[in-house]
Every structure is written in C-alpha cells, then in structure tokens.
C-alpha cells in the first residue's frame, strides 16, 4: 500500500437534489479534503454547501470536443489530488458507476498506485425509471445498452424482455462530440430495432427530474417515430417486450424429472 495518505471514494447523490442522497454519501462529501463533482449545476451548488473545496468537472466538456479528452482530463484532475495526499471524493450524479467511465477508471488507477479507493452506490436513473414507470426488471428480464454501443457492436437483443437504451439522444454519433445525434442517425437505430419489433411497437421516453419541483417525463411513442421524437441528453428509452415468453418445455421436463414432479 502507498504510504501517501491520498484516497478516493466515488459517491452518487442520486438523480433528484435532496431526495436520493444517502447519509453515507453526504458524510463522505463533508469529510473530504476535496470534492470533484459532475452533476446538475444546481445540485453542484447544493453539494458546495457541504464542503469548502468543491470543484466542478463540468467545465471540462466543450462544444464539439471529443468526450474521451474530457474524461481523461477529469481523470487526471482527480488523480493529481490523490497523489498530493488528499482525501478525495468524486460525486457523480445518480450512481457513480452506472454508465460512467471516469469513476471506475479513477478507482482502478488509484488502487494500481497503491491508494485506498472504492465506490459507494447511489440511486441511478434506472432505479427511478423502475419506480416511476412501474417496471419490475424481474418480470420479463431486462437488458441495458448504451444506444451507440448497441449500434456499433454485435449485441443480441432479447425481444422477450425489457430493453433499455441509454444516451438515446446520442444514438449513432461516431464523432463522440455531439450533444444530440441527427434524425438520420437515429433512423439507422430504428431500422435495426425493426428486425425485432413492429413499427407500431410502443417505446417509452423517460426523463428523471433533477429538481423535486420538475415533472417526470414518460412519453410513449411508436417505434417508427423515434427518429424525429424530441430527445434530450437526459432521455432514456424503454422498449417493453415485443414477444410473449415461451416456456422451455424440455428444460422444465428435465427439472420435473429430477424432482419427480
């Protein structure tokens, strides 16, 4: 273990200011020498009331700037303070480890260099989605993909289960620098999904509010209309099952034979 007392804890204050933060998360923030944040700006203002040294990472994003560069800059800013012997906390909106590269990479690098580093769970957009939309991922199963990853690589969709596509507003962006992709790029996604679902299949567009005063967005549209739907960076797409579960007669029979049912 490194004798330098630097350390890192990545925490998640949740999605909605005040509503989701755990006591441990707040105490980590309060106890830190320095806190890095990447959250809604008003949530960052709120976190700034909990510690005298709170530094936003949001300024590292830039118009048309490759986000890989942004994430590397975030990583280096965090690592610099750990190496300086600071007790560092990274507060990332929602859950720090869900669809968030920087927290995982910073923890891995810190540990590699001999520092104590770990992650605490937070309430993610997924958790809010289940509650707001009345979805139990256990009912039919649930797959999650980053929308562009689904498009760029050979993922296999299970149309018998829920499918949730994250960062849907960016679907198909090869530049890794846009805020939203184009209707033409999204149509490519629609065409891929039409291999598994009908054009009239209802899909949900979900947005969890950052402030308790704002409304949840839950809009249902037909899949064929996705390319021109209003999508925001915060939108998550929910695709309900398109096919009914089919019993696996062979396996059930095999299990019944074991238990002589």
């Amino acid at each position: 273990m490194n004798n330098n007392k630097g350390s890192l804890v990545c925490v998640g204050p949740g999605m909605t200011l005040g509503a989701h933060i755990s006591q441990r998360c707040r105490h980590h923030i309060e106890s830190a020498d320095v806190v890095f944040t990447s959250c809604h700006p008003i949530m960052e203002d709120w976190i700034a009331t909990m510690n005298p040294d709170v530094r936003s990472l949001q300024g590292m994003y830039g118009e048309n700037k490759d986000r890989r560069i942004t994430y590397q800059e975030m990583h280096e800013a965090i690592m610099a303070e750990i190496r300086a012997g600071k007790r560092v906390v990274g507060a990332f909106y929602g859950h720090p480890g869900v669809f968030a590269k920087v927290p995982h990479q910073a923890i891995a690098q810190a540990r590699k260099e001999g520092f104590n580093a770990h992650m605490e769970p937070g309430i993610s957009a997924e958790d809010c989605l289940y509650a707001d939309m009345g979805i139990d991922p256990g009912t039919y199963g649930c797959q999650h993909f980053e929308a562009s990853q689904y498009m760029f690589y050979n993922h296999i969709i299970n149309p018998y289960s829920y499918v949730i596509l994250w960062q849907i507003a960016l679907a198909g962006d090869l530049s890794i620098s846009k805020r939203v992709s184009s209707a033409a790029e999204r149509q490519v996604l629609v065409d891929m999904l039409l291999e598994h679902y009908t054009p009239e299949h209802k899909v949900g567009l979900y947005e969890c509010p950052s402030l308790i005063t704002d409304a949840v967005r839950m809009d249902w549209i037909e899949l064929k209309d996705l390319a021109t739907a209003e999508l925001n960076p915060v939108t998550t797409m929910v695709i309900p099952p398109g096919k009914k579960l089919l019993k696996n007669e062979q396996i059930v029979a095999q299990l019944a034979a074991i238990n002589q049912i």
Binding site: G18, W46, F99, E146, S148, Q149, Y153, P233
Partner: protein
C-alpha cells in the same frame, strides 16, 4: 433560507408541496433554474474503433 436549501427541504419533506412555498421562495427557485447552466450529462462513450477491454473473470474488488 436559500433557494437550494428550499429545494432540499421540499425534496425531503414528503408532506410539503410547491403550493406550501411562499411567492418569494417560488420566484427564487425559478430564478435559480433560469440562471443554471446546461448540464453535460454523458459520462460514458462507446468508441466505434476500439471495443471495451475484455471482461475479467474476477473484478478487482478491494477486500
């Protein structure tokens, strides 16, 4: 109480509503929202030229 503190209190108190706030508190919240910068949300990226590293069998968990 600042607008941020009002928002926190509203989020915690399940019996409180927007209608319980004074006009001044509501205005302060609206002003705070209007002045807030746009959030940059995307915290992950899929590189079309470089797939993720192979998944490991035993994730590096600190004991």
């Amino acid at each position: 109480m600042s607008a941020v503190e009002t928002l926190e209190k509203l989020a915690i108190d399940v019996n409180a509503t927007w209608e319980d706030l004074t006009e001044k508190q509501r205005q302060e919240i609206e002003m705070l929202k209007a002045s807030a910068k746009v959030m940059n949300l995307f915290m992950t990226v899929t590189d079309p030229d470089s797939p993720e590293e192979e998944p490991v069998d035993a994730p590096d968990k600190e004991s």
